[in-house]
C-alpha cells in the first residue's frame, strides 16, 4: 500500500514532480561543478606555477662564499666546491620523485670568447673578448634512471621563460646558444662559430657552432650557454657542476609545514615527510645528494604558496555560496510541494493515518526525488566541470566518488530539511476544516 501511494503520487502528478526534480538536479549540478573545480584547482594551478621556474637550488655545503651579482658568479674556477653529476639520477628516486618536474645543473665559468662568421675566415687572436660568462648546462638532456628508462630535463623545463631563436644545442654536439645582448654587441648570428677558452688563448680550440640566440631577460643575455660536458672540459672539471636548479610541484605551506621538523612527534614527522611541502622535498633531496645545501628560492616558492592559498580559499567560498544557494532553492521547492498538499494530508489523516505514517510517506517521496535528482545533477555537473576544466586548463578534473556522495547527501538533507517544517505543521492539521475547504 505504501509503495502504491508513492508510485501513485509520482504517476498522477508527473509535471509537478518533474519540476521539483529539475530544481534539485540543477541545484546539485551547481554543487557538483563547483566542488569538482575547487577540489581540482590546486593541482592544476600548481602546474601553472611551474612556469615561474625552479623553486629549489642545490649548492655544495662546504663552498666558499659565492661572489654573485645579478646571477653571475665571478669566482675563479679553482675557488669553491663542486658536486658530482653522477649523483643526479638519484633525484628521481626520492619519495616525491613524480613531483620533480625538472632539474638542471649549472657550471658557470668566466672565460674568453672568439666569435667569427663562416664567410670571414681571417681569425684575429687580438679579437678575443675577455670576461665572458660561459654557462654550461643541459638543454634537453636524457637522464638515465636507476629503474630503467630516462627522464628528459634541462633548462627548457626549469627556466620556461627562456626563449631561443633557432634551436637548443644537442647534448654532446659542438654547438652553443648565445645570449641576445652578447650577440648584438658582437654581431653574432645563428650559423656563426665561436671559440672558447679560459685564460690561455694561444692555442685555438675547436670552435662551437652557434645554433640559437637566447633571450632570458636576465644576466644570461650577456653570456654564452654551452652543453654541460663542454663547460666541464673547458674548466677541467669533468663530471662536476656548481649549482643545481630543481623545479618541484608542491603543496602550499600551512602552519603545520612551518613547524621545525626536529620538534615534531614521530607521527607528525611522517605526515610532514609524506606531504609534498617544499621543505620536505628539500629535505629528501638533501638526504639523497650528500654534501649539498638545498635552499628554497623564497620568491618563487612563497609567492606561489600565497597566491595558491588565496585562490583556493576564494574558490571554496564560491563553492560554498553556490551550494548554499542551491540548497535554499531546492529546500524552498520541496517546502512548496508539501505546503500545497494539505488537502491530501487531511484526507489521509481522516482515513486514519497517523502523523508518523504521513510524514514517513512524504519523506520517502522526497528522498526518492533527492536520489534521482541528485544523480542526474551529479552527471550534469561533471559534464560542466569537464567543459570548464578543458577550456581553462586543457585537462578535465577527475570525477571523484567523494563528490558524488557529498552531492547525494546534500540533496537528501536539503529536501528533508525543506519539507520538515511544513510537515511539522501538517502533523498538527485537523482534517475536518481542511476537507471542508476552510
Amino acid at each position: 500500500m505504501f509503495l502504491r501511494l508513492v508510485a501513485d503520487s509520482f504517476g498522477r502528478r508527473p509535471r509537478h514532480k518533474l519540476l521539483t526534480g529539475a530544481a534539485l538536479a540543477l541545484g546539485m549540478a551547481v554543487a557538483t561543478a563547483a566542488l569538482s573545480v575547487a577540489l581540482d584547482v590546486g593541482d592544476r594551478l600548481a602546474k601553472e606555477f611551474r612556469s615561474l621556474g625552479a623553486n629549489l637550488v642545490v649548492t655544495p655545503k662546504a663552498d666558499s662564499l659565492p661572489l654573485e651579482i645579478g646571477g653571475v658568479d665571478y669566482r675563479p674556477v679553482n675557488a669553491g666546491a663542486y658536486l658530482p653529476e653522477a649523483d643526479l639520477p638519484k633525484l628521481k628516486t626520492i619519495f616525491w620523485h613524480n613531483n620533480i618536474v625538472g632539474f638542471s645543473p649549472i657550471l658557470e665559468v668566466q672565460g674568453e670568447a672568439l666569435p667569427f662568421s663562416n664567410e670571414d675566415r681571417r681569425l684575429q687572436p687580438s679579437n678575443w673578448i675577455h670576461g665572458v660568462s660561459i654557462i654550461g648546462t643541459w638543454a634537453d638532456h636524457a637522464v638515465p634512471l636507476p629503474e630503467g628508462g630516462a627522464f628528459r630535463t634541462g633548462v627548457a623545463k626549469t627556466n620556461p621563460w627562456w626563449r631561443v631563436d633557432g634551436q637548443w644545442f644537442s647534448s654532446d654536439g659542438k654547438e652553443c646558444v648565445v645570449g641576445v645582448a652578447f650577440a648584438e654587441k658582437n654581431q653574432v648570428k645563428v650559423g656563426d662559430s665561436i671559440s672558447l677558452a679560459i685564460g690561455d688563448v694561444t692555442v685555438l680550440p675547436a670552435p662551437l657552432k652557434v645554433v640559437g640566440i637566447l633571450n632570458s631577460g636576465g644576466s644570461e643575455d650577456a653570456s654564452i650557454v654551452v652543453p654541460l660536458s663542454y663547460a666541464q672540459s673547458l674548466a677541467d672539471r669533468p663530471g662536476q657542476y656548481r649549482k643545481l636548479y630543481v623545479s618541484a610541484l608542491t603543496k602550499p605551506e600551512d602552519t603545520f609545514a612551518r613547524k621545525d621538523p626536529k620538534s615534531m612527534t614521530p607521527a607528525e614527522y611522517d605526515r610532514w615527510l609524506c606531504t609534498p611541502y617544499i621543505s620536505s622535498i628539500a629535505f629528501q633531496i638533501q638526504e639523497e645528494l650528500p654534501g649539498t645545501d638545498v635552499r628554497v628560492i623564497r620568491r618563487v616558492a612563497e609567492g606561489e604558496g600565497q597566491i595558491l592559498t588565496r585562490v583556493q580559499t576564494l574558490l571554496w567560498l564560491v563553492t560554498c555560496a553556490a551550494m548554499l544557494a542551491a540548497a535554499l532553492a531546492v529546500g524552498a521547492s520541496s517546502a512548496a510541494s508539501v505546503i500545497e498538499r494539505q488537502v491530501e494530508i487531511g484526507l489521509m489523516k481522516a482515513l486514519g493515518a497517523g502523523s508518523g505514517t504521513v510524514g514517513f510517506l512524504l519523506a520517502a517521496e522526497q528522498l526518492l526525488l533527492a536520489f534521482v535528482g541528485g544523480g542526474v545533477g551529479y552527471a550534469l555537473g561533471i559534464v560542466l566541470a569537464r567543459l570548464l576544466g578543458e577550456k581553462i586548463f586543457g585537462a578535465a578534473p577527475e570525477p571523484t566518488l567523494l563528490v558524488f556522495f557529498v552531492v547525494i547527501g546534500l540533496a537528501a538533507v536539503v529536501t528533508l530539511l525543506g519539507s520538515a517544517l511544513p510537515l511539522r505543521r501538517a502533523s498538527r492539521i485537523d482534517p475536518a476544516p481542511i476537507l471542508r475547504g476552510e
Binding site: 662564499l65 670576461g131 627556466n159 636576465g218 650577456a222 623564497r298
Partner: protein
C-alpha cells in the same frame, strides 16, 4: 469609463494583495528561493570584480618586475658601469604606487674583530628596501630602527663569517674602511644570501661614486597590460638606460593571472546560470499549484490575459522584494568573504546591486511563464477535481 477603470485597478491590487497574503508559508518559500538566488548573484558579482583587482596586488609577492641597469654593463672590461641616482626620483614621479629601489654593488673584504678578511659582494641600498619589495623573504628581526651605521647580512654570509647579530663588521675597499653593526639577517634562497647590505650613501662614499647606483629595481603593481604600458613609458623616458622586465615573473604572472581570472569568470557564470535555472524551477513548481485560483477567477469571468497579468505582477513584485533583500545580503556577504580571502574587505560596487535585483525580477517573471498554460484550464474540470 474612468470610474470603471479605477474600480478595476483597485480590484486588481486587492486581488494581488490577497494572492500574496493568502498563504504565508508559500510567500515565505518563494521569497526564500528568490532571495537566495539574488544573494548569491550579488555576492559573486561583487567578489569577482574585486578578486581580479586584488589578485594583481597578490602578485607583488614575486617582488620587483622591472629592472633599470646601465646600457654598457655587458662586459666588465672598463669597470662596472653605473647609473645616476636621479633616475630613481624620475621613476617615482612617473609611476605613482610603484616601489623603486636603487642598489649599488661592489666587492669588498669583510672581516670581524678577530677573523681574516673574506671577499664578498656588498650592496648599498635604502634601509627597509626588502621589507617593501620582497614580502616572501625571511628578514629577522622583523622590526628594527634605521640607523646609518647598521647593516643587514645574508644568511650564508652570516654562517660563513660565524657571527651573530649585534657584532661589528669591517668593510674595506681599496684602503678605505667603514664599520657597521650587524642588525638584521635576510634569507632569500638567492644570491642575496651571500651579500652584505649597507646604507646606500655610506656605500657611495666608500667606493667614491656619489649619486651613482648599479641597478634600480621597480615593483609596478597592476594587471599584466598595465605593467607592459608602464614599461614602455619607462623605456621611452630613459633611453640611455636599459629598462627590461624580469621575464621570469612578468610572463609567469600574465599566464597565471589569465588562468585564474578565466577560472573565476567561468565558475561564477556557471554558478549564476544554474542558480537562476534552479530558482526558476522552484518557482514554476509553486506556480502550477495555483490551478484552483486560476479556475476560480476564470469561473467568475476573469479574462485569460487579465489573470495572467495578475500572476505576472505578483511574480515581479516577489522578485523585486526578494531581489532587494537578497542582493543587499549578498553584498554584505561578499564584504565578509573578501575579508576572509584577502584579509581586506571587498569594496561594494553599487552597480552590482541594481544588476542583481534586475536579474532576480527577470528570473521571477520568467518562472511565472508556465502560468500561460493555465489559459487552457477549464474551470469546471478544476472544480470537479479532475486535473
Amino acid at each position: 469609463m474612468t470610474e470603471l477603470r479605477r474600480t478595476n485597478r483597485a480590484m486588481f491590487w486587492r486581488i494581488l494583495r490577497r494572492l500574496l497574503g493568502a498563504n504565508r508559508g508559500r510567500l515565505f518559500v518563494m521569497l526564500l528561493a528568490l532571495g537566495a538566488g539574488a544573494a548569491v548573484t550579488a555576492a559573486l558579482l561583487n567578489l569577482q570584480v574585486d578578486a581580479k583587482r586584488r589578485l594583481t596586488t597578490e602578485f607583488s609577492a614575486f617582488g620587483p618586475n622591472v629592472l633599470i641597469s646601465p646600457k654598457a654593463t655587458l662586459t666588465g672590461s672598463d669597470g662596472p658601469a653605473t647609473l645616476s641616482q636621479d633616475i630613481e626620483k624620475g621613476v617615482l614621479n612617473m609611476l605613482l604606487g610603484a616601489h623603486v629601489a636603487p642598489f649599488l654593488y661592489f666587492y669588498a673584504d669583510v672581516s670581524t674583530e678577530n677573523s681574516e678578511q673574506v671577499p664578498a659582494v656588498v650592496v648599498g641600498m635604502h634601509p627597509f628596501t626588502f621589507d617593501l619589495l620582497e614580502p616572501t623573504w625571511k628578514i629577522e628581526p622583523k622590526r628594527a630602527d634605521a640607523r646609518p651605521g647598521d647593516c643587514m647580512v645574508g644568511a650564508t654570509l652570516l654562517s660563513h663569517l660565524k657571527i651573530t647579530t649585534g657584532q661589528a663588521l669591517h668593510v674595506s675597499v681599496a684602503g678605505k674602511q667603514v664599520d657597521c653593526a650587524v642588525k638584521r639577517t635576510v634569507s632569500s634562497g638567492g644570491e642575496e644570501d651571500n651579500q652584505l647590505f649597507v646604507d646606500l650613501s655610506a656605500a657611495q662614499s666608500l667606493v667614491s661614486l656619489p649619486n651613482r647606483v648599479s641597478l634600480i629595481q621597480i615593483l609596478i603593481p597592476g594587471t599584466p597590460q598595465e605593467i607592459q604600458h608602464s614599461l614602455a613609458m619607462l623605456q621611452q623616458r630613459f633611453p640611455d638606460a636599459e629598462v627590461r622586465p624580469i621575464r621570469q615573473f612578468t610572463e609567469g604572472e600574465a599566464k597565471i593571472y589569465n588562468r585564474i581570472s578565466g577560472l573565476l569568470t567561468a565558475t561564477v557564470a556557471i554558478v549564476l546560470l544554474l542558480t537562476a535555472l534552479c530558482v526558476m524551477a522552484a518557482m514554476s513548481n509553486v506556480a502550477i499549484e495555483r490551478k484552483m485560483d486560476v479556475g476560480l477567477m476564470k469561473a467568475i469571468g476573469g479574462a485569460t490575459h487579465r489573470v495572467v497579468r495578475l500572476f505576472l505582477t505578483e511574480a515581479a513584485l516577489l522578485g523585486l522584494a526578494g531581489g532587494l533583500i537578497g542582493a543587499a545580503l549578498g553584498i554584505l556577504l561578499s564584504i565578509g568573504l573578501g575579508k576572509a580571502v584577502f584579509g581586506v574587505a571587498a569594496r561594494p560596487r553599487l552597480i552590482v546591486y541594481p544588476v542583481a535585483v534586475g536579474l532576480t525580477v527577470l528570473v521571477a517573471i520568467l518562472s511565472a511563464f508556465p502560468l500561460r498554460r493555465l489559459a487552457s484550464i477549464r474551470p469546471a474540470s478544476v472544480f470537479r477535481g479532475e486535473a
